[in-house]
Symmetry: none
Subunit: 131 residues, 4 copies
């Protein structure tokens, strides 16, 4: 399990961690009940302040992606428990629209974008299969 954190990006460090954990879960690289590195471990591994890792973990727990057990560490959740928050859905719709429009301006065709989308879903589905 390797993290690729880049402090030079505009996106906050703790969000980069959140994104990568969610991505690894979706792709099946991280399985349910699997243990994540401890806050201190990860923070020294990616050379970052422990508080920043902690913040990422807390947000991930709030989203239901991971659970932390006192004194034992943090683990990938077993259940997703999607609550279908309408505000979140609308937010995602807007985000998608913006990506599409910006892609349009960047000269990326509709077909190319759909290909990207398929690529992502193939990665998600390919490894999540319960073999």
């Amino acid at each position: 399990m390797y993290f690729n954190i880049d402090p030079k990006k505009n996106i906050p460090l703790y969000e980069q961690i959140i994104h990568q954990v969610k991505e690894m879960c979706a792709k099946g690289i991280l399985k349910p009940n699997e243990k994540l590195p401890s806050v201190r471990e990860l923070s020294s591994q990616i050379v970052i302040n422990p508080n920043t890792v902690s913040k990422a973990y807390q947000e991930l727990e709030r989203q239901g992606v991971i659970i932390t057990i006192r004194g034992r560490g943090t683990f990938i959740s077993e259940d997703f428990d999607q609550t279908y928050d309408p505000r979140l859905v609308e937010k995602l719709r807007q985000s998608l629209k913006q990506v599409i429009i910006d892609s349009h301006y960047a000269g990326i065709s509709r077909e190319e974008l759909i290909q990207w989308l398929e690529d992502v879903y193939n990665e998600i589905r390919g490894d999540t299969s319960e073999s």
Copy 2:
């Protein structure tokens, strides 16, 4: 030409303006060479600090979406001049991936997401009568 700016959203005001101008251009609501309201006009119209509007216009000009002619005002550009910046493309790919993963967690299906994508493209294509 109506702007729908919401200071309550997390996205910065100046970005909201940028997004909406680009969206209106893509949809054909704003045509090439069309005049945009002046900074002062727009800032009083949407009750916002003029500096914020100015910042949005500057960024739009930098992106080549609009051009400012001193003493005459700002106008929609005629040509896009897409330079296919590989860094931008990669950034967009990452953004799309993130939206997909977050949607996945929000319980939105692949089909639903593709439908959203089609919806956006239909709006873009339907109104840009310059084919």
Copy 3:
């Protein structure tokens, strides 16, 4: 609007702030759209680190109690938007049960407890009336 924060209590400082803001909202001491003190203001007022206040405000925003507008400050939300989270409801049920049992052991009668409950609701209702 006065805060009564006690570092000697076991309950974390940021939670004390959360509780008091919610209480003041429920009682109508804080009205919708009212501005809260800025992070720096409040932190110096109650002699606490700004980060701690910030954490409280962020959690309050996450709960939908307040909203923060970039560069302008934080305000009481207009809408509650209760989503009736079943996990939260169960948690509250458990908390109530525990308070009751502990009260039972502390020699507090059922009638006394109901009286307390009524007292709280009277404060909530009395001032929330839309006069």
Copy 4:
């Protein structure tokens, strides 16, 4: 006598034990002078660190709920000896207030809350046949 301990909950394990013992006593499932399992028995039964069970028992003894007789084991106390500690009472009042306010925000009505309260008291009274 079955314990239902969940390490995933935020509440510390030793407190969960305390709560459950007190609840079982209040409901009459555990009678005065009844013997509790030994620290080792209980810790292996619920798969937990013995120190955690020990800590729970110590706190229960401090509260006067159980008594330990060296060489014979731990037993439920006969008498409660409620000392009406004003600090504890105030603490419970605050806890109740907070549960009510949080319930208010969670969309739980006053009637519902009172119903929950009655439910708990019915369980407590129904089984304590020592009247």
